[in-house]
Amino acid sequence: MTALMPDAAVEPTPRQRTWSAFRRNPLGVASAIVLLLLALVAVFAPLIAPFPEGYGADTSQPPSAAHWFGTDDIGQDVFAQVVWGTRVSMAVGVSASVLAIVIGLLIGISAAYFRRLDTPLGVLVDLSLSLPMLPLMILVAALAGPSVRTLAVVIALFSWPEVARVVRSQALSIVPMPFVSAAKVVGGSSLWIVRTHLLPGVIPVVGVSVVLTTSRAVLAEAGLSFLGLGDPNSWSWGTILHKAQQSGSLASAWWTTLFPSLAILLLVLSTTLLSVAYNDARNHRNDS
């Protein structure tokens, strides 16, 4: 019978192509490095600075060699606060986005695959979008105590619809694919198809969602903390800003505002740029 095709120089797999395109994007690589650094700061916070607590004599000092980021109005080192804030902000960001993505995946895929569920789930999405975040936050904080975990849960509750929509539209493009029909013909159950075909298929877009929801969650955490709904027992960037706001020194003691704001900016910026770079790299049609 027919001869085998000569083994034409093996084309790179999509993953390799994405990776090589990604490496070519300086913004993307820089973002990844920044994120990595932030993650390291979060993990090794105890090695970098002592936990900011107690009070010091040098209150409201501008940045100096002793206090790189200055001190706040009770004399705590802002650098230490920012370093430890990295932990909580990133933890809230990551856990909220993971949670949002789990919910979003579940609902998005169900809506796309079980067409009958689409309308009810659509209503659910509309509903969640029309729900007020703040009172819900207060409610949950009251029932569960304002902890990092509560923040993550509440932020996730408000972030999943976005993920669900992205997942749904991606899943909708997979469901009519012949390989899904093929799996059905072969006898695969709904669960099988969802597990082996839909889930892996939506993972790449979820990858983008992860970073985006993380960055939104970080901002949301800062906002909620800023409004006084944060966890008083831990430092997050939003908490630092909240304390600065409460002491009325947002404008004058600029260092108490600037550095946590910069940290937020850095994290959100690098996550967003990373997702943009990843998206560009994945989009093989337009790369050069």
Binding site: M1, T2, L4, M5, V10, E11, T13, P14, M177, P178, F179, S181, A182, A183, K184, V185, V186, G187, G188, S189, W192, T196, H197, P200, G201
Partner: protein, 342 residues
């Protein structure tokens, strides 16, 4: 090539496709109807994709289906494998209905397989060839362990002319023809009695098309599976089929032994189709052709009476009013009031 452990099928036709082997009826479709209601956006009216099709497929034979784009070939194919539930009518496999209360019984699922048109999109780009071909084995738990599964996948790949040592590659690393072979190997994995092929070669390069057509012919000869072979290329269908059905707007216009349908078409549409097909022989240029006027009507509002009458040069008033039914002349059926019986 190692023959697959397929249970003895009806004796392989020595040369194909001489005459249809007279096996049992494995697949029977009666009065199939399928309409699609568009999404919320559609302006009322359903697309009547398939509107009353009766078919029989006998063991070991190849039934070709031709017809123009949108006439319902794929919809029919999907109903024949139980991917789509007919609105009306029934598909039976060896006399047992496809759709029972709990969905399609697993053993019927195993026995009826499908090969898709586009070899790339019908293979999950994220799965290796091994995983793709092993999917039916996993689903039906046909392999006791991982090693047995690998062996079986290797066997299947060899059967379709692929080297088993490439089974950990991904689909995009293969050429179009090779991908289609992978699709065929997957369809063979459950040792089916019937394979429905929905335009299995349309997406292939002309230089590769012949390889796959040959493969189908050979598989049928050695394994004795019954094939439904859908295509819009008349020559390809002629080449592989024992019997041929011609579809127009959701209905069969004509069914019969390939030689008869091609040699002495009874339905004007078949005639038009045969005459419009371009022939790769420059010296035949300028032969007289039947040029049909206009475009095929919309399947949302098919014309009353005979569906073809709006483009038919033979049409009379009767055609516009009375819908012709498939009438037999021996093995050769045609749905036309003025069928030409040779």
């Amino acid at each position: 090539m190692a023959p697959s452990p397929e249970p003895a099928a009806s004796g392989p036709a020595a040369v194909l496709p001489a005459s249809a082997p007279a096996g049992d009826v494995v697949l029977r479709a009666t009065g199939l109807h399928k309409s699609y209601h568009g999404g919320m956006l559609s302006r009322g009216g359903a697309v009547r994709a398939v509107a009353g099709v009766d078919l029989e497929l006998r063991a070991g034979e190849t039934l070709g289906i031709v017809g123009e784009s949108g006439c319902g070939k794929s919809t029919l194919a999907r109903m024949l494998v139980g991917l789509e539930r007919p609105d009306e009518g029934e598909v039976t496999f060896r006399g047992r209905p496809f759709f029972t209360r709990g969905g399609v019984p697993r053993d019927i699922r195993r026995r009826v397989q499908m090969v898709f048109q586009d070899p790339l999109t019908s293979l999950n780009p994220r799965m290796t060839i091994h995983d793709i071909v092993a999917e039916p084995l996993r689903v039906h738990r046909l392999s006791p362990n991982v090693r047995a599964m690998r062996e079986r996948v290797g066997e299947l790949l060899t059967l379709v002319g692929l080297s088993p040592d490439r089974m950990s590659r991904f689909p995009h690393e293969f050429s179009g023809g090779q991908r289609q072979r992978i699709g065929i190997a997957r369809a063979l994995a459950t040792e089916p009695d019937v394979i429905v092929c929905d335009e299995p070669v349309s997406a292939l390069d002309m230089s590769v098309q012949a390889q796959v057509v040959n493969l189908f012919a050979e598989l049928q000869r050695t394994l004795g599976v019954a094939l439904v072979f859908i295509a819009h290329d008349l020559a390809v269908v002629r080449h592989v089929s024992h019997r041929v059905g011609v579809m127009y707007l959701g209905r069969l216009a004509e069914v019969g032994p390939a030689a008869e349908v091609y040699g002495a078409p009874a339905h004007p549409y078949t005639m038009a189709l045969l005459s419009a097909a371009p022939v790769p022989k420059p010296q035949l240029r300028g032969r007289s052709r039947i040029m049909l006027a206009g475009d095929p009507p919309s399947p949302v509002a098919p014309p009353p009476g005979c569906r073809f009458h709006t483009r038919c040069w033979k049409a009379t008033e009767r055609c516009a009013e009375v819908e012709p039914v498939l009438e037999a002349a021996g093995e050769h059926y045609a749905a036309c009031h003025y069928a030409e019986r040779g």
